[in-house]
Amino acid sequence: MADTTTRAKVRWGLLDVAVVVFALTPVLWIMSLSFKTPATLTDGKFIPREWTLENYRTIFATDQFVRALVNSIGIALIATVIAVVLGAMAAYAISRLDFPGKRVLIGVSLLIAMFPQVSLVSPLFEIERQLGLFDTWPGLILPYITFALPLAIYTLSAFFKQIPWDLEKAAKMDGATQGQAFRRVIAPLAAPGLFTTAILVFIFCWNDFLFAISLTSTERSRTVPVALSFFTGASQFEDPTGAICAAAVVITVPIILFVLFFQRRIVSGLTSGAVKG
């Protein structure tokens, strides 16, 4: 018995290693590039021979990147907060109340989750130009909220369904008002779900490229993924590779931190929200 379990463990261990290598190689590679000096950049080695922080100094010294970083953070945070608040309201209604149009709402959000975003690019481009939203923060925040809402609604209603609502009754029996029952009992229980949803929505907004490149035209509202792609042609860098990689690493760090600290929550959020039934 002991023998077979050891063998099984080794086998699983090898598979684990394969997965880890597969998942991490591209990330490590771009990190490695970001630490290379211009001289060694094109040596094709996976591990830098000379380490430097020069690339990071360069990007943080330019407005182009810093401005984009501010845009990215600001836009993603605002969109996340709004999407989670609106999503929480809708998810509460879906998981706890009975009302006409509930299934329509579920259906609509499902449709939007599958909607080809590029189909919106042309009309939104034109509409936002007319409304003066083109190349502004709200011009990106609005479509982000829209496409984050289905995700938020699914994830949150899955979480809300797991909350033991008996506790609300118990709190009332213990002498709480409706408000106290919500604040002191339900809200602390709902917080992890809200937090997980916020992470997922933030990742979604943070990652977007199509809207960001179509609906912006200047540094005023360009986000980092877009700014990255413009580094390529920009003349102020002789060879943009090192700068692109450094910038790429900077916007990857928060994602890696989220994943490291909240792996369990993200997995449960994604799986419960995405597949119900």
Partner: protein, 332 residues
């Protein structure tokens, strides 16, 4: 006949956790649901009003940003409308559709998109299933595996695309000299292969997570029962796990197919559509932002929308994919 033999709520808290739903064991099923949701307010109208009120903001935003623009885009697609020549704007009926549908670039892009969709989704299904099994059943390092699998999912697509691009760039990359001494990103076949590789790397974890949720639905006892009935590991997988997981697999396929059809970021960074590697999203973007041709761009938007709708329809009708959430309120 022993009347008292059924422990009430035996299904509740069997795992020792607080579940809370079991109290209603003593109430008929059809009433339980309603009451479970609204313990105090029996006023149906107030409940409806509150429900609609809570959903209204989300619904309005979603409709305002999708339904109205898509209709607007249908309207735009019926016009000659090029921002470089705004004076020539006029209603031309379906002529834009004729232009696009007789254009070989469109069909090439369409073919590329379909190819990428079919190949990546197929590969992802196999790899994703493997990864799901590893994440679900591994004996060692489950946390590490799950954490590292999440990184491709979370990482910005453009960042990953740059990583792949530099990996295959001659001189810079560690992979560039792997196959031939040429530059892989300057040839069509190898470019497409790299685009697909990047797509697969990025989205297999998502597929795996969806499938893992399906795996979790397979009761452990069912697998044990199959073992004692003499099923081999492969038979357990195909005869027990796959049938139970079928709904989850179909949902994962639907989501991933439609997602793959939207492929844009990777192509933009890796080849920018050179050597006939444009996808439909790429070509629509180029017509709109680079070409500033709103009429043609909108026509492509509408065509893409229709294609996606057809794919979704096929999934739902032919395979009976139960849309997630569509059964809300029926079960549980």
């Amino acid at each position: 006949m022993s009347v008292n033999a059924t422990p009430a709520g035996a299904d509740v808290a069997a795992d020792g956790t607080e579940t809370g739903g079991g109290r209603q064991a003593a109430v008929p099923a059809q009433r339980t649901r309603r009451r479970g949701k609204v313990p105090l307010s029996e006023n149906k109208r107030a409940e409806r009003k509150l429900g609609l009120l809570l959903c209204a903001p989300a619904a309005l935003v979603m409709l305002a940003v999708t339904a109205y623009p898509i209709l607007y885009s249908v309207w735009l697609s019926l016009q000659r409308y090029d921002l470089r020549f705004p004076a020539e704007r006029e209603f031309i009926g379906l002529q834009n559709y004729v232009t696009v549908l007789t254009n070989e670039f469109w069909w090439t892009a369409f073919g590329v998109t379909m190819l990428i969709t079919v190949v990546t989704v197929a590969v992802e299904l196999v790899l994703g299933m493997g990864l799901a099994l590893i994440m679900h059943r591994t004996l060692v390092g489950r946390g590490i595996v799950r954490t590292s699998a999440l990184i491709p999912y979370g990482i910005v697509t453009v960042v990953a695309a740059f990583s792949w691009r530099y990996a295959w760039t001659p001189g810079t990359g560690y992979l560039a000299n792997l196959f031939s001494d040429g530059a892989p990103l300057t040839e069509r076949a190898s470019s497409l292969a790299i685009i697909m590789l990047a797509e697969i790397w990025k989205t297999t974890p998502f597929m795996a997570l969806l499938l893992m949720a399906g795996l979790a639905l397979v009761p452990e006892d069912l697998l044990k029962a199959a073992s004692t009935d003499g099923a081999t590991a492969w038979q357990r997988f195909t005869k027990v796990m796959l049938p139970v997981m079928k709904p989850a697999i179909l949902v994962a396929l639907l989501f991933r197919t439609l997602d793959a059809f939207r492929v844009f970021d990777n192509i933009y960074v890796l080849t920018a559509g050179a050597n006939e590697t444009s996808s439909v999203s790429m070509i629509a973007y180029n017509n709109l932002i680079r070409g500033l041709n709103l009429g043609i761009g909108s026509t492509m938007s509408v065509l893409i929308f229709i294609t996606v709708a057809i794919i979704a329809f096929i999934f739902v009708k032919l395979f009976g994919t139960a849309a997630p959430g569509s059964d809300d309120g029926e079960r549980r």
